[in-house]
């Protein structure tokens, strides 16, 4: 498998190699890797990459996947235009 060709995060174009490079450097946790690569913070809000990264951390450190932290879920559930939000109240009344 060519690690450069395996995309883990489609929003930020993060490959498997980007992940394993950081694990090799000594970064251990989801939060550290997320902050360096922006993985999990893109337009899809981590719906694909969170579990993929958890699996890589689990395999690398040989710990059960349920012991790998899950990052905080943040609003919004889906992207909404600023204009739509700013006009929402006006449209209601």
């Amino acid at each position: 498998m060519i690690k450069e060709d395996v995309i883990i995060c489609r929003c930020e174009d993060i490959t498997l190699k980007d992940i394993t490079d950081l694990l090799d450097e000594g970064y251990q946790t989801f939060e550290e890797i997320k902050r360096i690569l922006r993985i999990g913070m893109g337009a899809c809000q981590g719906s694909t990459c969170i579990s993929l990264l958890q699996r890589e951390i689990s395999n690398y450190h040989n710990i059960p996947i349920e012991k790998v932290e899950t990052p905080k879920v943040r609003p919004l559930m889906t992207g909404v235009k600023l204009k739509s939000i700013s006009e929402a109240y006006k449209n209601e009344s």
Binding site: E32, M41, L76, G79, K81, L82, S86
Partner: protein
């Protein structure tokens, strides 16, 4: 375990202090954080670095810090791009009152070498074409202000400090600081005991609590400041745009996303960092009014973080007369990230009894004892 010094907090201030001390040859430096690196205010900040301040001390700290950021990548020999860009801060004035205040600010900034200028709204439009001129009076602009990635800048200090031998202990909370004979003896965490005579409080949002551990009353409090990020698009905005009266800061980061925030005057003083619908509503209205084009962008995420606020909204970089060996870098009032190079340098000089690079009497905790302090930083969102 023995340590020469224990630094509490692995935000940008803590890692900068650790790096500066290690660079000066101090051994056995320990940094303790109850969570992961940059998990507090640093990792939640707006990623702006500016020099356009209203007090002399903030101007000096900011100017020297920008001088460092310009060379940080090389000095720290960091292998990733810290995403530093200098495309300025455009601070818009809404009325004559702000115009006059900014006139004084620019004069002060220029006096310490900060290249800020006051400009008309037509000139502002040349710098930010999508600015709504109907709602502004004029602006000030400083081209050497800009953007820096908070996670990566903190990581750069962290990597450099580790190479110099600094030991980091994450997910470990300081529970007790043992003092006897007016001297610090031991720092006890939930995992270790560190025998040390020196402690640095760089605990950000929890600075007051870390003061309370040794009975020192630090006059700071924390409050939630919210922020959001949009989808990334091609570059359309160079500088950070700020309005104090409209209550907004908004920039496009090199990655392409827009980051924006505003404060809420009714927010309570506590450690809450949650996201609210109220913020999203007010933020979108303000952003669309000042920068109408931005309204087309989708909001991706919102979050919150603590401002650790001091009475004059300037940092407290200080030792204490009550307890020798106890130092603090706290109360940055939302701007600890952009002052970090000077925070680390000044505190390392103070700890090693060297003359400080700039006179920081006005940043000492004792300044709040005198009644006639008028030096209040107004240029804060």
């Amino acid at each position: 375990m023995k340590a020469n010094i224990v630094i509490i907090g692995s935000g940008i201030s803590g890692v900068s202090i650790a790096y500066n001390l290690a660079k000066k040859g101090v051994k056995d430096i320990v940094v303790v954080d109850k969570s992961y690196i940059s998990s507090g205010s640093t990792g939640r900040c707006g990623a702006g670095v500016r020099q356009q301040w209203g007090t002399l001390m903030n101007c000096k700290l900011a100017k020297s810090s920008i001088d460092f950021f310009e060379k940080a990548q090389k000095i720290l020999k960091y292998h990733r791009d810290i995403e530093f860009k200098q495309e300025g801060y455009l601070i818009v004035a809404e009325d004559d009152e702000e115009f006059n205040q900014f006139k004084k600010n620019v004069k002060l900034q220029n006096s310490v070498g900060i290249p800020s200028i006051q400009i008309s709204k037509d000139e502002a439009k040349k710098i930010v074409p999508h600015l709504n001129l109907d709602v502004i009076h004029s602006a000030t602009y400083c081209k050497t202000d800009g953007h820096l990635n908070p996670f990566l800048m903190t990581d750069a200090y962290y990597v450099a400090a580790k190479k110099l031998g600094v030991k980091f202990y994450f997910y470990e909370e300081v529970k007790e600081i043992i003092v006897s004979n007016k001297k610090i003896q031991k720092v006890i965490t939930d995992k270790h005991e560190f025998y040390t005579h020196k402690v640095v409080n760089a605990a950000g949002g929890f600075a007051k609590e870390v003061g309370d551990l040794v009975g020192i009353d630090i006059p700071v409090y924390s409050e939630n400041h919210e922020i959001l990020v949009t989808e990334p698009i091609e570059k359309i905005q160079g500088p950070m745009v700020i309005s104090f009266k409209k209550n907004i800061y908004c920039q496009q980061v090199p990655h392409g996303a827009f980051i924006m925030g505003r404060s809420d005057k009714s927010v309570e003083k506590n450690h809450d960092i949650s996201s609210t619908w109220k913020f999203l509503d007010e933020m979108s209205k303000t952003a669309v009014e000042l920068l109408p084009l931005i309204g087309e962008l989708r909001v991706i995420r919102q979050w919150g973080g603590s401002y650790n606020v001091s009475p004059d909204r300037q940092p407290i970089i200080s030792d204490t007369k009550e307890l020798a060996g106890y130092y603090m870098a706290v109360g940055f009032s939302g701007h600890g990230f952009m002052f970090a190079p000077m925070t680390g340098l000044l505190l390392s000089e103070m700890i090693l009894n060297e003359p400080t690079s700039i006179d920081i009497t006005d940043l000492h905790i004792d300044r709040f004892e005198s009644e006639n302090k008028t030096n209040y930083e107004q240029s804060v969102v």
